[in-house]
């Protein structure tokens, strides 16, 4: 940031640069762009930011982002209420829901088992999941944790816990090649997983 800018510009720019994907130069450009906005618009933006945390909460049932006690998914009577897809973070719900292939419920763990970052099973929303299964007539669990060591560990841990207590259909999402990507440049770990989770065609 150039030294001759007034302090308020420097400060806002500094704050913006702590956002993901925003470097020093981008934060400076954003700040200068905001300077051209109408005062009313700026005030509205300020309010949107300052009330964000109060207005967005987590769903009491599944942990998804919500405006009230329950999220849109849990409130929707048309969803299949006997299948739960387990994810690490709320943003993964959007990714799965947008594909249009899944119409069940979700459960957000809030992370994955990662001892090296001091995240253990008891830090995740696993007991809430077990309570949900106990109290509702759940038939199937889909484990959609990430395809790395920690995601795999979380899936194995959950599968062990659940199969000891319940009669459930437990599955892990298949992992593999992104659609529309060029096979030539697929990295080998992805390729190996795609091959491991292949399915018969006929």
């Amino acid at each position: 940031m150039s030294n001759h800018y007034p302090i308020p510009i420097k400060e806002l720019s500094q704050s913006l640069s702590s956002l993901p994907g925003v470097g020093k130069r981008t934060s400076e450009r954003l700040t200068l762009a905001l300077l051209d906005w109408e005062s009313d618009d700026l005030r509205r933006l300020g309010e949107q930011i300052s009330t964000l945390k109060e207005k967005v909460t987590h769903c009491d049932i599944c942990g998804n982002l919500a405006e009230k006690e329950l999220c849109e998914v849990c409130l929707n009577p048309k969803r299949n209420n006997d299948v739960i897809c387990v994810v690490e973070y709320p943003q993964q719900i959007a990714a799965i829901d947008n594909c249009g292939r899944y119409n069940g419920l979700y459960h957000v763990l809030g992370g994955k088992i990662d001892p090296l970052s001091n995240i253990h099973a008891e830090n995740l929303r696993i007991n809430q999941l077990i309570d949900r299964i106990k109290e509702n007539n759940i038939r199937e669990i889909i484990l959609s944790t990430s395809p790395d060591v920690e995601g795999e560990a979380t899936a194995v841990y959950l599968a062990n816990e659940l199969k000891d207590q319940f009669q459930l259909n437990i599955s892990r999402i298949a992992l593999g090649i992104p659609v529309g990507s060029d096979l030539t440049y697929a990295d080998s770990a992805t390729m190996a997983m795609a091959l491991d989770s292949r399915r018969p065609l006929l």
Partner: protein, 368 residues
């Protein structure tokens, strides 16, 4: 997989800017010691597997008073061409055809490179970790699933060790990492075990040519846990290793370390029936290392359908004339070879090679 048509280096070791074109077959760099011959092999090796055979501190590879180096290699493989680039400064960036890529596993293995360098002597003199490094580098180049299993395995060992240090110990969580270790570890072990068996077949072929009389070199994979000799399949390795983890859990929680598994396995090298790891003479050790490398180079080349390249850093001094000739005949099947030497006479044995003279960091091609 491929071979190098061209390399460019900027601020690498003593090269400010270097651009060289290569032919297939044998490329020889001739020059006095200390002129930068080994640096060329080091940069070829670095583009191939993103490591140095000389230094663990990669900052040492950056030219004095510079912040980063940039290496590019134009690689030809199966009639298609690609460009591999790597920049290393504070961080490392990898590019495939000028597009940034994130995983090292997408980069490594495009060029499969077998080194013959003085550091190879650690195969005999070094510790188990030197020998594991040799297996890991060789197999990672040949089998992409080996590299990803190894990365997962190492991460899982660290996680399990961390869990062992937590009070109270969560055995349920440790059990989860046991199963991840067993899956990745079985794949690693099976590749290594098979590699050692096949390496022995090559050693049997090469020993009579490179050694006197009935002298023979053999290796034997050493498990860090009890395992039946009959174990062959991946499922069997998985079960045996999982059992070993369970059996050693008391010891592991006492020492807060995972005591068994591929990260603790080793292999023994035998000269005739005697283990060289402890009892070899210097001469025996030196010739053994060269023979081991020839065998593993041939094995890699055979596995990879004659697609590996060799880099050879002046090892000829170790060999008498007869063995030197035998060694050079082993190079004829290799698609591309880079050799350094101080000795012009070597060129008489290599009539069809490209020759580069190197002096004070300047490299001049003097024969196509």
């Amino acid at each position: 997989m491929g071979l190098f048509n061209e390399i460019t280096a900027i601020h690498f070791r003593n090269f400010t800017k270097l651009n060289l074109t290569f032919s297939s077959g044998i490329n020889v760099f001739v020059g006095e010691n200390g002129q930068g011959k080994t640096n060329i092999l080091e940069l070829i090796y670095f583009i191939s597997i993103l490591r140095s055979f000389r230094s663990n501190n990669l900052k040492n590879l950056i030219q004095w008073q510079q912040n980063s180096f940039l290496l590019s290699g134009c690689v030809e493989c199966l009639n298609s061409k690609m460009k591999l680039s790597v920049q290393l400064g504070e961080t490392r960036s990898l590019y495939l055809n000028n597009t940034k890529i994130n995983r090292a596993s997408e980069f490594i293995g495009r060029i499969r490179c077998v080194p013959f360098v003085s550091e190879d002597i650690y195969l005999v003199y070094g510790s188990g970790s030197d020998r594991r490094k040799f297996l890991d580098i060789t197999l990672s180049q040949l089998y992409p699933d080996y590299l990803s299993a190894l990365q997962n395995y190492n991460k899982a060992v660290k996680s399990r060790n961390r869990l062992l240090k937590c009070e109270p110990v969560n055995f349920k969580a440790i059990g989860v990492f046991d199963s991840i270790l067993a899956t990745a570890g079985a794949l690693i072990t099976q590749y290594r075990y098979r590699f050692c068996n096949r390496l022995n077949e090559h050693l049997t072929d090469i020993s009579p040519i490179m050694l006197a009389g009935n002298d023979r070199i053999k290796i034997k994979y050493e498990f860090s846990y009890d395992i039946s000799e009959k174990v062959q399949t991946q499922e069997e390795f998985q079960r045996s290793y999982l059992n070993a983890l369970k059996k050693n859990i008391d010891k592991d929680s006492q020492y807060k370390l995972t005591s068994v598994g591929p990260h603790r396995d080793d292999f023994l090298i035998f000269f005739n029936e005697k283990s060289l790891n402890n009892f070899g003479s210097e001469g025996e050790c030196r010739i053994t290392v060269i023979i081991l490398k020839i065998a593993s180079g041939r094995l890699s080349n055979e596995t990879d359908n004659n697609n590996v390249i060799y880099i050879i850093d002046d090892v000829f001094g170790e060999l008498d004339e007869k063995r030197r000739e035998s060694f050079l005949t082993y190079l004829q099947d290799i698609k591309q070879v880079f050799i350094t030497t101080t000795d012009n006479k070597i060129l008489d044995c290599l009539p069809h090679s490209s020759v580069f003279n190197i002096s004070n960091g300047k490299v001049v091609k003097c024969k196509e």
